[in-house]
């Protein structure tokens, strides 16, 4: 049985601003399903005394001192931007698709 539905893939695609065709939705649903199945196998072998883990390293409290470091000049920062206006990144209309 499929753990992830086509509708869920469509929802995720929308949240990620990806325009997927119907064929692609089916394709990704199958792939995501396989991924979820594999992850579920890990859950099967997890014993009660093993806490869920999010980080591979047994480290905590890695901080930096509150010191200013040189950053980029605006020309450098904006050099890769598709569009620039008044030293700012110019982006397409934000609410267009929902209006």
């Amino acid at each position: 049985m499929s753990a992830i539905t086509r509708d869920e893939v469509a929802h995720l695609a929308r949240l990620s601003r990806l325009a997927l065709t119907d064929d692609e939705l089916d394709h990704y649903a199958t792939q995501l399903d396989a991924i979820i199945e594999s992850v579920a196998k890990v859950a099967e072998v997890a014993a009660e005394d093993v806490p869920p883990s999010s980080h591979a390293l047994p480290l905590t409290n890695v901080f930096r001192a509150d010191e200013v470091q040189p950053g980029l000049a605006p020309e450098q920062a904006l050099s890769g931007a598709p569009a620039v206006e008044d030293d700012r990144f110019r982006v397409p209309r934000i609410l267009g698709e929902e209006a």
Binding site: R17, L59, F63, D66, E67, V68, Q69, R90, I94
Partner: protein
């Protein structure tokens, strides 16, 4: 239609919730070493990390962690022994990463409270959580009529603010405020602002956005036990607006409910000019953030001994300080509240520290100077006069060198940029006439000019001497010592009191 406030409160009970964002005053950003100066030219305080260039990794700012824990302690919170940052995923150009590093179900601080006073009554506001995240960039919407996001053709983004440490403080729902809901909301944000100031963790300037408040309001019919649907109002940029936004949302929701309508759970925007809110994006749709633990940052596990030390070192908090000063200055609740509302407490305290009696310090700041501040539309602390200068003026009055009228002229001179109080006295010639010969000559002239009054006083109507003293004050342009003048007049006329 909106319903009038009083009628709305006759029929419904409000429940409040307040979400406050405080930009920390660290030198560098939360996860990179970029500067945090307000108002710098666009995109001059950015680097590969806060612009999310591939491969750049965040490292947490130790000072921001410490400030957040101190805020939590000041708000009587428990501090997490272990917690993580979380990714809040959303596609919106104000964050170049397409996610914001925040905290989700493991806030650094939780379960606290603060006490505020409303109309002299204590109100306890429970704090749900205090967590640390990064601020977003600043978008400017171009095209369209209003400069707002709706109807804009495109937007331009400045990432100077993106990545500045931002602390979010969330209250538990606040029921039971009844008619005082707007005042409670304002008192809470005011107190929070003062706590932040006393901790020195932020400059908390609402007009610059370093303190921002979202106001949640819901209504339920009187006597109901189930809370209504809430709205979240953003863009509330002053203490006064906090009060107005709560009031306006209560009036609007009551109107909708009274007509049998339903409140939509949504974000609303407050408009300073009209004092009302309008609908923003719908919350249900927007809130699919797919949080997960931030893999690029390791967990935070504050050493309990360090936390205990931070707690030990907290400064006296504002409410405790106000109580102490009120007792020291022997003020009524009403007078203390008035000073608090006028933001005069620090100034009066500094004036007292500079040697002035509390009553005099209060008299000048809350009287003449408050009037001046009002007239010129600046806060008291923005007047070009210092507590030390006020203390000097009270000293001059106490020593008899100035009377109140002259003192007011001295203040006027100082405010006009004519120098220190002593310089203004010197330049404007405001010293009380202490030269007995000069005073005597003025009195002789006044006596000669007021035969009627002189006759009355001689015949025993001592009250008539008031007119003669008034004449002396006028003739001396207010510089005579009125008590001494009266004494001399009576002497010269050969009468005694």
């Amino acid at each position: 239609m909106t319903m009038l406030y009083d009628e709305a409160l006759d029929r419904f009970e409000p429940v409040l919730g307040l979400e406050t964002h405080v930009e920390l005053g660290t030198k560098s950003k939360m996860f990179c070493g970029c500067k945090t100066t307000f108002g710098a030219p666009p995109n001059t305080q950015v680097c590969p990390t806060c612009l999310a260039f591939p491969g750049a990794l965040p490292v947490a700012n130790a000072a921001a962690i410490e400030s957040t824990i101190r805020i939590g302690l000041a708000l009587n919170c428990s501090i997490a022994e272990w917690c993580r940052f979380a990714r809040k995923n959303y596609f919106y150009p104000d964050m170049p990463k397409n996610y914001q590093i925040s905290q989700y179900d493991e806030p650094l601080c939780f379960d606290g409270y603060i006490d505020v006073e409303v109309n002299g009554e204590p109100v306890r506001i429970e704090i749900e959580r205090v967590h640390l995240e990064e601020d977003t960039g600043k978008s400017t919407h171009v095209g369209g009529a209003t400069g707002r996001i709706h109807g804009a053709d495109y937007s331009i983004v400045d990432y100077n603010r993106a990545g500045i440490p931002l602390v979010e403080i969330v209250t538990k729902p606040i029921p039971g405020t009844d008619r005082l809901a707007p005042e409670v909301a304002k008192a809470y944000v005011t107190e929070l602002r003062e706590i932040m100031r006393s901790l020195g963790v932020s400059d908390v300037r609402m007009e610059e956005g370093s303190l921002r408040c979202d106001v949640n309001v819901s209504l339920m019919p009187r006597g109901a036990s189930e809370w209504g649907t809430r709205t979240e109002t953003k863009n509330v940029n002053s203490l006064r607006s906090v009060e107005r936004a709560v009031r306006s949302e209560i009036e609007r929701q009551a109107g909708v409910l009274a007509e049998g309508g339903k409140i939509v759970q949504e974000t609303r925007h407050f408009h300073e000019d009209t004092g009302t809110t309008t609908s923003g994006r719908s919350k249900e749709e927007a809130q699919d953030y797919r949080y997960f633990p931030e893999p690029d940052l390791v967990p935070i596990a504050p050493d309990p001994a360090w936390v205990a030390k931070l707690k030990e070192a907290l400064p006296e908090l504002p409410l405790a300080r106000r109580k102490r000063l009120q007792a020291e200055w022997a003020l009524s609740d009403h007078d203390m509240q008035a000073m608090h509302n006028a933001d005069a407490i620090d100034l009066v305290e500094a004036t007292v520290a500079a040697g002035a009696p509390a009553a005099d310090a209060r008299k000048w700041w809350m009287g003449e100077l408050a009037r001046r501040a009002n007239e010129t539309g600046v806060p008291l602390s923005g007047l070009p006069i210092t507590p030390v200068q006020i203390a000097r003026v009270t000293e001059l009055v106490a020593s008899g060198a100035l009377n109140d009228k002259l003192a007011r002229e001295v203040l006027e001179g100082v405010l006009a940029g004519e120098g220190t109080p002593d310089e203004v006295v010197e330049r404007r010639g405001l010293q009380i006439v202490n030269d007995e010969g000069e005073l005597s000559a003025i009195i002789d002239q006044v006596l000669a000019d007021n035969a009627d009054a002189v006759e009355k006083v001689r015949s025993g109507k001592i009250a008539a001497a008031g007119a003669l003293v008034g004449g002396v004050m006028r003739a001396s342009k207010g510089k005579a010592d009125a008590a001494r003048a009266r004494q001399l007049i009576l002497e010269k006329l050969g009468v005694s009191e």
